[in-house]
């Protein structure tokens, strides 16, 4: 039986979340920004699983399931939007989509 302190799992989740967030903020390529988002979602799912492990209940996994469903929907719509944006600005540089400035 695994005996890991739940804190370590949550710490791992935190680290992954932070890495994903850094990826969102630093990268200019839209695809990479979306990847960072996925990493963040995953990390939060890990946190739920860790919590479920701590309490020994299935609720953690159920939350993870919902997060998964939501991530799937979000990715599909997000990538469709990326396609549309690419049609418009002909580049994947997020900084080029700055018509809303001023």
């Amino acid at each position: 039986m695994i005996t890991i302190p739940t804190v370590h799992a949550l710490l791992l989740a935190g680290v992954l979340f932070l890495l994903g967030f850094i990826g969102v903020m630093v990268r200019r390529n839209i695809i990479f920004i979306l990847l960072g988002l996925e990493i963040m979602l995953n990390a939060s799912g890990l946190a739920f699983i860790a919590a479920g492990f701590h309490w020994g209940r299935p609720d953690g996994q159920i939350m993870f399931l919902f997060i998964l469903a939501m991530a799937a929907a979000e990715v599909s719509v997000g990538l469709a939007l990326v396609l549309q944006l690419y049609h418009r600005i002909h580049t994947l540089d997020a900084d080029q989509a700055n018509k809303m400035r001023g």
Partner: protein, 631 residues
């Protein structure tokens, strides 16, 4: 009958409202009827009330009537309340009576003017304001009337507004009198602060109780009120506006700048005489101001070319007489002279107007001449008025009123030989310039042909005033001339105290009468010779270097305009130029500039980049979570 007191100012006010709102749509005849009619009814009412008042004497020397409560703020309680006594009644009779005849005159004089109804609207408003001034029971209401007449003076001087020179003259009048008005306002503040009321009768009683004669406070208060009086009455040093005010139509000059508005200062001092008697130093100042003004203005009048300017300087000079009388405590004499002066000065102005009208708007006396044959009625009435002004002995009203002042300038306890000499010199100058005016205008060859003869309205007005100029003087005859009649001074003594004469000087009355009578006649004789007998000698005298210098100096009113320009106008314009960009306003510009700066700074954050926004979100979330965790 005193219940109808409020109607007297209300009727001209109604006339103003009607003419202001609907005047341009009314036919001329109706405007004239409204304008003159309200005056007529007011005058009739005044006469009726006067009759009732005279019957009520001696038991009832004064009436007070409150019409409406105006202000009740803190300790100040001021109402629209009227006060009727001998002094007020005299003023009211003159204002409405002379005013009515001047309005009648103006109905014909201004008949071809475009702004006919506007003219009568302003005139009616003026009469209403003047009546409020003299009937006011408290100083604040008096100040209301004071400002009202100032406003109407401005409106009427600049009546022909299309000519900018008229506008400047009106502005000058307003600004100069404003200086005086401000002093008067400060005086009101002082009086209220020290004595706690502005009710005139109340004020006088409290002043007598609280202040001793000659102390600092009444002197300051009286001096400030004197400032206001000096401004409105065009005395030294605020006399510069009156000659330029002749830019207005002649009926305006007659009513406002001869008979009524300029005498408001005299009224003010007479009304608050208790305060002035508490400040003998200020009384002396009043007398000296009056004496100096009357002499200076006399010299200036001697050199003028424009007939109306002669009359303007003459008005300044005559009001100087009234101030002189007030300064030596000759209250009754001052008020009496005011009344007589109103009659003959209005008459002179009306006559001058008739002449100007006939000469097709020619003002220069040197271009007139020989009108004695062309306009006989005008000539005789004008002659009567001039005789009254020069105070020709025995037959004219002016003799009785002016010589009373000249005598009391010497005989009163506060008078003396110096003041008497000034008054006598002034009388001499008066007859000189008056008859110079008469001879230049009416005698000699006709230089400009007459185009228009005066009509009935003008003639009626002039005749009535001529009769008054001849016979009104008989109300007050000195004791040395057959027993003496003291109807007027007796009447006025219900309000103003009797003049105290220095006992040692009383014996000289007869002698002084002869001297003043003789001076007037001497003046007439000299000027007759100079103008009509030896005109070449006169022009040679005027053309000499000294003559030229004196002429220039007197012609410009002793250089006051130039002086004020140098010491007041130029520094002010200089400062205004420095402040051209409005330094005070730039502080508020700072606020808007700062708003712009903040805008520019904040719009840098709106760079349209998603990553920046995400970063902002993240930092904000981190800060909030940190605060939630730590705090």
């Amino acid at each position: 009958m005193v219940q109808l007191l409020w109607l007297i100012p209300a009727l001209p006010l109604a006339g103003f409202v009607i003419l202001a709102l609907a005047g341009s749509r009314l036919p001329r005849r109706l405007s004239a009827v409204t304008g003159v009619g309200t005056m007529g009814v007011s005058a009739a009412l005044t006469v009726w009330i006067a009759a009732g008042f005279l019957q009520g004497l001696p038991g009832h020397p004064a009436y007070s009537r409150i019409v409406w409560s105006w202000l009740a703020v803190g300790g100040l309680k001021v109402g629209i309340s009227f006060y009727l006594d001998a002094l007020t009644l005299t003023m009211m009779l003159v204002i409405t009576g002379v005013g009515f005849f001047i309005h009648l005159y103006a109905a014909e004089y201004m008949a071809e003017d475009e702004g006919f109804s506007r003219f009568f609207a302003y005139m009616n408003l003026f009469v209403c304001a003047m009546l409020i001034l003299v009937m006011a029971d408290n100083l604040l209401l008096l100040y209301l009337g004071w400002e009202g007449v100032g406003l109407c003076s401005y409106l009427l001087i600049g009546f022909w507004y299309t000519d900018p020179a008229n506008g400047y003259a009106a502005r000058k009048a307003f600004v100069v009198t404003r200086v005086g008005d401000t002093a008067m306002a400060v005086g009101l503040f002082l009086l209220f602060d020290q004595l706690g009321t502005l009710q005139i009768q109340d004020l006088m009683i409290r002043a007598q109780g609280a202040w001793t004669a000659g102390s600092f406070l009444p002197t300051i208060a009286a001096l400030l009120l004197l400032g206001g009086a000096v401004g409105k009455s065009a005395q030294l040093p605020l006399q510069t506006w009156l000659p330029d005010a002749m830019a207005g139509p002649t009926p305006v000059s007659a009513l406002i700048h001869a008979a009524t508005m300029v005498t408001a200062g005299v009224y003010l001092i007479a009304r608050t005489h208790v305060l002035f008697t508490l400040a003998p130093a200020v009384m002396a100042v009043v007398a000296i101001v009056g004496a100096a003004t009357l002499v200076l203005a006399g010299f200036s009048a001697l050199t003028q070319k424009d007939i109306k300017r002669v009359l303007a300087y003459s008005t300044i000079s005559q009001i100087g007489y009234m101030f002189l009388a007030l300064g030596v405590g000759a209250w009754a004499a001052a008020v009496f002279h005011f009344m007589i002066h109103a009659f003959f000065k209005a008459l002179l102005f009306l006559g001058a107007g008739a002449v100007i009208h006939a000469m097709n708007d020619e003002h220069d006396m040197f271009k007139m001449g020989g009108l004695r044959r062309e306009m006989p009625l005008t000539f005789w009435t004008f002659l009567i008025g001039s005789a009254s002004l020069a105070a020709l002995p025995l037959v004219t009203s002016g003799f009785y009123s002016k010589d009373l002042i000249i005598w009391q300038a010497f005989a009163s306890v506060q008078g003396g030989i110096g003041l008497w000499a000034a008054a006598l010199a002034g009388a001499f100058l008066t007859s000189l310039y008056t008859f110079r005016m008469v001879f230049l205008t009416f005698a000699g060859p006709t230089r400009t042909p007459v185009t228009k003869r005066p009509g009935r309205a003008i003639n009626i007005a002039m005749v009535v005033l001529a009769v008054l100029s001849l016979f009104a003087g008989f109300l007050e005859i000195p004791n040395t001339l057959g027993g003496g009649v003291h109807l007027f001074s007796g009447f006025i003594q219900n309000t103003l105290p009797a003049t105290v004469l220095a006992v040692s000087r009383e014996a000289y009355e007869s002698l002084f009468e002869w001297i003043s009578g003789g001076t007037a006649l001497l003046g007439v004789a000299i000027i007759y010779v100079l103008i009509l007998r030896v005109p070449d000698f006169t022009s040679a005298l005027a053309g000499s270097p000294t003559g030229k210098l004196l002429h220039r100096y007197w012609f410009s009113g002793w250089g006051f305009d130039a002086l004020y320009d140098r010491i007041l106008v130029r520094p002010y314009v200089f400062l205004a130029r420095i402040d051209r960009d409005d330094i005070i306003d730039s502080f508020f510009d700072l606020i808007s500039w700062f708003g712009g700066l903040a805008h520019r700074v904040l719009s840098i954050t709106q760079n349209g980049r998603m990553r920046t926004y995400a970063a902002g979100l993240a930092i904000g979330a981190a800060v909030v979570v940190g605060m939630a965790v730590l705090l």
